[in-house]
């Protein structure tokens, strides 16, 4: 693999090449076997690592195998070591350990209010500077809205964001803007709408913020449902959701 091949292939996959460059790549694939193989590998890797479900399933199956093997080993171990003489001593030790664990668990578990959980988990998010989604020429108004957002002029930004109902990226930032001005009910409507359309890139983040809105609105059951969904998924917010659920 040469570095220059890698980068031009990567840029082609991401649609970042000019027409001439893309044409050159197309031709190179036809005429150079090694280049074609490199291209295919880079494409296939992207496809393979986007298969989250398969990666999870393989991990699940591996865990099941390990658990089954461990439980078989455990039975054998118990048969060897738990004779009549050591059993009472072990039982006493286990009891002491359980009591200590119980005390520790009791003393370390903490109940937070929904409001505290929101504050601990909410992070404001910077607006997009990525030009893939905001076209410089065609939509100056939208760019202005993002600038207003960045300057924390949320009310003004909201007025513009509201006009882009079908653009999920804009809708996502509309939801965040509502949170920033403490309009959690409106924010929850916006995030719910994004989630109604599964076919977009912002469902994962929208679900997280929707859960936070429900916390703030004190709708605990709804918040639990949302965080359970996140905790049972492969979301990047999985661990945070699990922690919140423990406190709810």
């Amino acid at each position: 693999m040469t570095s220059s091949n890698f980068e031009i292939i990567e840029r082609d996959i991401n649609g970042e090449l000019s027409k001439e460059e893309a044409k050159w790549v197309k031709n190179r694939i036809k005429t150079n076997f090694q280049f074609a193989e490199e291209y295919k590998l880079q494409l296939e890797i992207d496809e393979a690592i986007s298969e989250n479900e398969i990666i999870d399933l393989r991990e699940n199956l591996k865990n099941i195998f390990e658990q089954k093997t461990d439980s078989k080993r455990g039975i054998i171990r118990r048969m060897i070591s738990f004779d009549d003489y050591v059993r009472p001593a072990v039982a006493a030790a286990v009891l002491v350990a359980l009591v200590i664990a119980g005390i520790l668990l009791f003393s370390t578990s903490k109940n937070y209010t929904n409001n505290q959980l929101f504050t601990m988990n909410y992070e404001s998010i910077s607006a997009i500077s990525n030009t893939r989604s905001v076209n410089n020429n065609s939509d100056q108004l939208m760019k202005n809205a993002f600038q207003l957002y960045e300057q924390k002029q949320f009310i003004e930004a909201i007025e513009i964001f509201k006009n882009y109902e079908s653009d999920k990226l804009v809708q996502f930032f509309l939801g965040i803007s509502y949170i920033e001005i403490d309009q959690y009910q409106n924010a929850s409507f916006v995030f719910s709408n994004i989630l109604n359309d599964n076919n977009n890139l912002f469902t994962e983040e929208s679900r997280w913020y929707l859960g936070l809105c429900y916390l703030k609105l004190n709708q605990t059951q709804k918040a639990k449902d949302i965080f359970n969904k996140i905790a049972n998924s492969n979301s990047i917010n999985k661990i945070k959701a699990e922690k919140i659920l423990k406190s709810l």
């Binding site: 890698f6 980068e7 296939e44 890797i45 690592i49 298969e51 099941i64 910077s126 997009i128």
Partner: protein, 191 residues
């Protein structure tokens, strides 16, 4: 133990229900294990074959390519058999595989699915060896999530840093894959 119907097992695999996956293991693994052990394999081979057969079934369910005309076990066994035969061919074991070859007729799309699964398994295995940061950056960037959001989620300074890290991680992954002898073998087999 309550017996599950084939449709219930397929649905359980589709949604990755751990109870169903455990059931499949408890019900069927011993037979697959005996089959592999009786045909020049060991327990670790049997586990690999069993796991990959479930993954192939999962892929087929997802692609809506699976309509069972036999029991789940018969189907699972046939997939395991094909996978093990391919392994043996690769190992070039001097064993009589005539009996194994009976009944094995594969449609073209199945050949492709098996090949794809073998390759992707290798890629995913090495992907899991990368640092957690690399894994996260690669998975987020290929979803076309704006780089600035990826930066926020992964603690990078800006979009450019994310892009640089993405390139570095992907190059590293390619290098590891290429240095795995299995990769060369797969490429040569597919020529």
């Amino acid at each position: 133990m309550v017996k599950l119907k084939a449709e219930e097992i397929l649905l359980g695999i589709k949604v990755q229900d751990n109870k169903v996956l455990n059931y499949v293991y408890d019900e069927f693994f011993l037979n697959i294990n005996s089959f592999v052990l009786n045909n020049s394999g060991n327990k670790s081979d049997a586990e690999d074959i069993f796991q990959e057969a479930i993954i192939i079934i999962f892929r087929k369910i997802k692609n809506e390519q699976l309509t069972l005309t036999c029991s789940f076990y018969t189907y699972l066994f046939s997939v395991c058999k094909k996978l093990w035969l391919k392994q043996l061919e690769k190992k070039q074991e001097l064993i009589d595989i005539t009996n194994l070859e009976n009944e094995i007729t594969e449609p073209d799309n199945e050949v492709e699915l098996f090949k794809k699964n073998e390759k992707f398994r290798l890629y995913q295995k090495h992907f899991k060896k990368l640092t957690k940061t690399c894994q996260k950056v690669l998975q987020l960037t290929i979803k076309n999530i704006p780089l600035i959001i990826v930066a926020k989620k992964t603690g990078f300074k800006n979009a450019e840093s994310v892009k640089r890290r993405k390139y570095k991680c992907k190059k590293q992954l390619i290098r590891i894959i290429r240095s795995d002898p299995t990769y060369r073998k797969i490429i040569n087999d597919n020529k």
